[in-house]
């Protein structure tokens, strides 16, 4: 057991309760453990399981709350009440939905590739959960602090598309395959601006570990990296196929896309993965741009993290409720012609600033922010002008001359056929 793990309060508390007699734990005032000496390896294994279980269940509980909250918010946005029947303020609605989903008939299409068809839901739910393992949700509360945390996130989140493709292919449904192709196109296009948007953050923090990035945020990086935040936020929305980039599910076009043939808990897992992805994306944005668990002292760090997370989630839900969907070609054009350029500008400007102040202090970070904001606003404005559709000169309704010439006299009073005819 390396000392790095014991800096993590979550691990330390579990591990040292099991193996308190080991030298590392004794050094940290843990008097005695449950397991006898020499059993540190078992304590390590058990604590790994316990930590993973705590984290996974906390996330799943969070998802239940998120689904309820999102539906309530949908209601408020749409001028209705939202779910309010089951439990106080409808809080148990998600639970009831989960039970209902589990008890539904599990249908597998006759033409489906059964193995892949059953594998896909598992494949989508697992990576969505794994992302959380590198995100610190409070001081010393994380599963692992990888030194390549950012790369790990990028790698794991793109696995989602693989399972979408598997699901679509195995269900032998043409609409599903269309949706999966869109999903792949989205991944290929948005992975690049998403990764490049993070380069600025990595340069500023000088590390890819999420813990170090939070430490480096003397002021939240959203202030220092507005362009990076803008691009990352939009790319992340596209990556998890949220409105206005919800091309893969696109209810009004593809019905439910790759989900068309899934029923029961398999559908439930996809649904769950979608919301976990929403949660994890918000957590990543919180960590990288909103200084994670950092805050002012009397309030515990976990609460700071939760508040920032909810703020980001609210904005994502707001987007989803408000905006119509873009077409596929427009989405791809937006990635390659818009976001890609913006990330490049961001990288160049940040690189120059880092060259001037290699180890920025708080004051220097503020100066960077003062330089970056005008750059961001101007470049976003320029790109929107270049990519945007120009408005029509909408004609005002008037008695003006018709555009297409038709006879101007009114029809005779009795234009219809009338009378006559022996039946």
């Amino acid at each position: 057991m390396s000392a790095a793990f014991l800096d993590n309060s979550l691990w330390r508390n579990v591990y040292c309760v099991l193996a308190g007699e080991s030298t590392e734990c004794a050094a940290r005032d843990y008097s005695s453990g449950l397991l006898p000496g020499g059993m540190e390896w078992l304590a390590f294994l058990l604590s790994a399981l316990v930590v993973a279980a705590i984290f996974a269940n906390a996330i799943l509980g969070g998802v239940i709350v998120l689904i309820w909250g999102e539906r309530r918010l949908f209601g408020r946005f749409q001028n209705r009440t939202g779910p309010n029947r089951w439990g106080p303020w409808g809080t148990l609605t998600s639970v009831a939905d989960a039970i209902k989903t589990m008890f539904k008939e599990d249908l597998v299409p006759a033409e489906a590739d059964r193995i892949l068809f059953n594998l896909a839901p598992v494949m989508i739910a697992a990576p969505a959960l794994i992302v959380f393992s590198v995100i610190p949700v409070g001081v010393g509360t994380y599963v692992a602090d990888l030194n390549v945390g950012v790369l790990f996130i990028m790698a794991v989140t793109s696995l989602t598309t693989l399972s979408v493709l598997t699901a679509a292919w195995s269900s032998a449904n043409r609409i599903a395959i269309l949706s999966a192709l869109r999903s792949v196109a989205l991944l290929v296009s948005y992975e690049i601006p998403m990764a490049l948007a993070l380069v600025g953050v990595i340069m500023l923090a000088g590390s890819m570990s999420l813990g170090s990035i939070i430490e480096a945020q003397a002021i939240p990086f959203i202030l220092v990296q507005p362009l990076g935040f803008f691009v990352f936020f939009l790319a992340a929305m596209a990556e998890m196929a949220r409105a206005p980039f919800d091309l893969t599910e696109a209810e009004s076009e593809l019905a439910a896309g790759y989900l068309n043939d899934y029923a029961s808990m398999k559908f439930g897992l996809f649904f769950l993965a979608e919301f976990i992805a929403e949660l994890s994306t918000s957590a990543i944005i919180t960590t990288l741009f909103l200084s994670g668990w950092k805050g002012w002292d009397p309030i515990p760090s976990h609460l700071w993290f939760a508040v920032k997370l909810i703020l980001v989630l609210f904005v994502i839900i707001w987007f989803r409720m408000t905006l119509p969907r873009l077409r596929v070609d427009q989405v791809l054009k937006f990635a390659w012609k818009g976001l890609f350029e913006l990330t490049m500008i961001n990288i160049i400007v940040t690189a120059v600033l880092i060259a001037i102040w290699p180890e920025p202090s708080t004051t220097e970070l503020w100066i960077m922010a003062a330089i970056n904001w005008p750059v961001a606003i101007i470049s976003i404005w320029v790109v929107s002008k270049l990519l945007g559709t120009s408005a029509y000169e909408s004609p005002t309704p008037s008695e003006s001359a018709p555009v297409y010439p038709v006879g101007t006299e009114t029809l005779p009073a009795n234009a219809g056929v009338q009378g006559g005819g022996d039946k």
Partner: protein, 370 residues
């Protein structure tokens, strides 16, 4: 390097969420591009025209309600005008004004539904739709005050309407007219400058006016291509020659133009209703049963009468053999005729735009299949 691809045929509907009812299309795609479309009608066929041959002229009014169920008042109006023409009934002025108020409100309601569903098809997850529907609900509340029914009104009768409006109807109508204008302003503030709406609807499914005229397309679709054809102005029925309104025209003939024409027509409808309120005078709302009996027996003959419905020219062709029921009834369903250009509109467009274009036609399957 050119990749060898093969078009894929996909069956969309009749159980698809965006087909505005039960409509089916066999669509052939090449990637995301639409290569071929084959519409399949008839899933909502209820034999309205045949049923009409077994009903008296008054009973048929209830059948017309169920044709285009988002604009029942307009169907009623078109039908009773045809009967009046066939039987030579002179309508009562107050009844005619009430008829105009009801049908213009119905036009607003129908355009609200069309606009809301167009945005739903654009992928706006229900929010604009629900705002449009909220306003429509309030119009339906007014209908409930007028005739007790919200959707299947059967409000109009040959010679007028069956019941005068209650006293509390008029203040409620005034409030609602102001609120409709506010809603339209809100909608426009939200949508008319919205880049996503704009980039998706502009230049999509452009149809030349010549083609539209040759296909006998009418209504907002035709006016969006700049053809000044509005039966309220060309062939004024009821008292439309006594009210003043603008014909809304746009020259672009694309999805955005159709959306825009509908939104502006709602404003014009509100204007018409306001003028109706000014000009309406007390009096009977329908002729007495001595003048127009319940069992109308029109003279032998046939008649075609059309009004400007919410979706286009809505006409009824009635053939009388002198009995209490028409020998034959035929409805000129504007939805069905507007749908005939679907193939021309869709081929070459993107799959993502399929249902947006489909929605921009503003069709109602109840009317298409009857």
């Amino acid at each position: 390097m050119a990749v060898k691809t093969q078009p894929v045929t996909v069956n969309l509907g009749p159980q698809h969420p965006s087909t505005h009812g039960v409509f089916r299309m066999r669509v052939m795609f090449d990637g995301e591009e639409i290569v071929d479309v084959e519409p399949v009608f008839g899933y909502l066929h209820r034999g309205t025209e045949k049923l009409a041959e077994e009903r008296t002229y008054s009973q048929i009014i209830t059948l017309t309600d169920r044709m285009d169920y988002v604009s029942s008042m307009l169907n009623n109006q078109s039908y009773v005008l045809a009967v009046e023409k066939l039987a030579g009934i002179e309508p009562m002025p107050r009844g005619v004004w009430l008829r105009m108020i009801a049908s213009e409100l119905q036009r607003v309601a129908s355009h609200l539904v069309a606009t809301g569903f167009l945005l739903q098809d654009l992928g706006a997850l229900g929010t604009p739709l629900i705002y449009c529907m909220r306003e429509r609900e309030r119009i339906l509340d007014l209908f409930e005050m007028l005739c007790g029914a919200r959707i299947t009104n059967s409000y109009m009768r040959p010679g007028g309407v069956f019941m005068d409006a209650p006293k509390e109807f008029w203040p409620a109508l005034d409030r609602e007219l102001d609120d409709i204008v506010n809603t339209i302003d809100e909608l426009e503030a939200y949508l008319s400058g919205n880049e996503i709406v704009f980039s998706r609807t502009k230049g999509a499914a452009v149809l030349p006016p010549e083609l539209l005229i040759n296909a006998s397309i009418t209504g907002p679709m035709l006016r969006a291509s700049g053809v000044d054809w509005d039966l309220r102005h060309r062939d004024p029925y009821d008292y439309y020659d006594k009210v003043d309104f603008n014909r809304v025209l746009h020259s672009a003939s694309d999805n955005y133009a159709r959306y825009w024409v509908r939104v502006q027509e709602m404003r014009e409808s509100v204007k018409i209703v306001r003028q109706c309120i000014e000009q309406i005078e007390p009096g009977p709302v329908r002729p007495s049963f001595d003048d127009v009996p319940r069992l109308i027996r029109p003279p032998v003959g046939d008649v075609y009468s059309a009004i400007e419905g919410s979706k286009g020219e809505l006409g009824f062709y009635l053939v009388s053999d002198g009995s209490i029921a028409p020998y034959r009834m035929h409805a000129r369903a504007s939805s069905l005729i507007n749908l005939t250009l679907l193939r021309e509109m869709l081929i070459g467009e993107q799959f993502g735009d399929l249902f947006v274009i489909f929605g921009s036609v503003d069709l109602n399957m109840g009317e298409v299949d009857r």
